[in-house]
Amino acid sequence: MKKEAVEAIVAGLKQAGINFVSMLPDSDFTDAQKAVMADKEFTCVPVSNEAIAFGVCAGAWVGGKKPALLITTDGIMASAFPLTTLNLQKNIPVLMVVPYRGSLGDGIWFVGPMAFTTEPLLKDLQVAYTVINKIDDVTKAIRDAQLSAEAWLRPTAVLLAGEVIFEEA
């Protein structure tokens, strides 16, 4: 991930007022995750699976924090249960920032199925989302997604694709 992309993600989280982040690493996202962990403006809670992260973020939100999840595309699938029985059931907001594995340009064979499962799953789970391909668009997209999550009391997602996560081979 390019340095400019990492800076755009961190800037977006800060401008959105995010102050609590839970995460599980992804191979093309660790630069951004490390930058967030190194920044003292965020309380960071790495977890062992994404379902735990949704619970942690819900607890943080009712405690007054503005939480975000930096999780993998796999993590969305692993989180269908908490998204349904916690965020949708109780109307609890959370911002998800996700490197979109399986978006066009991804060159790893085993993420191919995610090209067909990720967006339908988000729609089924009633998560409003946007796909961002340009680094220049990242900061505003994160800010907007958090604003709507907060207003609607719902989870929202920013899927990062194109030049944001893929460097030229």
Partner: protein, 207 residues
């Protein structure tokens, strides 16, 4: 030892401002019947301890008590490891272990087959992990945990079977609003913000 007896002891001992997180099932119904305001209830399988962890980290100056169950925490066993690593000194995690899925005709959980939650918690690094098997031991453990500023993980071996309970009146969204409004009031903060993008000229400056 029966769970409702433990609930009565907790209701007697916990100050009203302790934030209590409960799972789905009878535990939340017993606790809701206490009428306490500071309760975040009906956290589904595997989500009760994580939610308590997030709450404890968000409000480190407040005591948080989680009332989890064996079936619930087994669903997300790794949450014990994450709890141990974060090690919030303001959190008391109580796990009522009846060795079964009570609401599913007492179908046995793995703790009925020798799996020990205390050992798992200790293996994860929680120093104050213990198992209690009587009301006297339970009271002593709660007193010690309340007096200190360290993470406690208390496995409470209770008999299977539940008492009849008052039909709950709050569904999950209402409970969330009540709890959030309670936190807003007692912490003097705003959590729910339905108009984050508003025209400033339409509203008083204090908004």
């Amino acid at each position: 030892m029966k769970k409702p007896e433990c609930i009565k002891i907790l209701d007697k001992k916990l100050p009203q401002d302790v934030l209590v997180v409960t799972p789905t099932g009878k535990t939340y119904m017993y606790w809701e019947a206490t009428g306490r305001e500071a309760q975040f209830t009906q956290l589904n399988l595997g989500l009760c301890t994580p939610a308590g962890l997030g709450l404890a980290l968000a409000l480190p100056h407040r005591k948080v008590v989680v009332l989890d169950g064996d079936g619930n925490i087994l669903f997300n066993l790794a949450s014990i490891a994450d709890l141990a690593v974060q090690n919030p000194g303001n959190l008391i995690d109580i796990v009522f272990d009846n060795e079964c899925y009570q609401s599913c005709d007492s179908f046995p959980s793995v703790t009925a087959k020798g799996v020990q939650l205390e050992s798992i918690a200790k293996g994860c690094g929680i120093k104050n992990a213990l198992t209690v098997r009587s009301l006297v031991e339970f009271e002593a453990a709660v007193d010690k945990a309340l007096a200190g500023q360290e993470l406690f993980f208390i496995v409470v071996k209770v008999e299977p079977g539940e008492d009849l309970v008052t039909l709950p009146r709050q569904e999950g969204r209402e409970n969330k609003y009540r709890f959030v409004r309670y936190v807003e009031r007692t912490e003097n903060i705003r959590i729910i913000n339905p108009y984050p993008r508003r025209r400033k000229k339409d509203f008083l400056p204090s908004n």
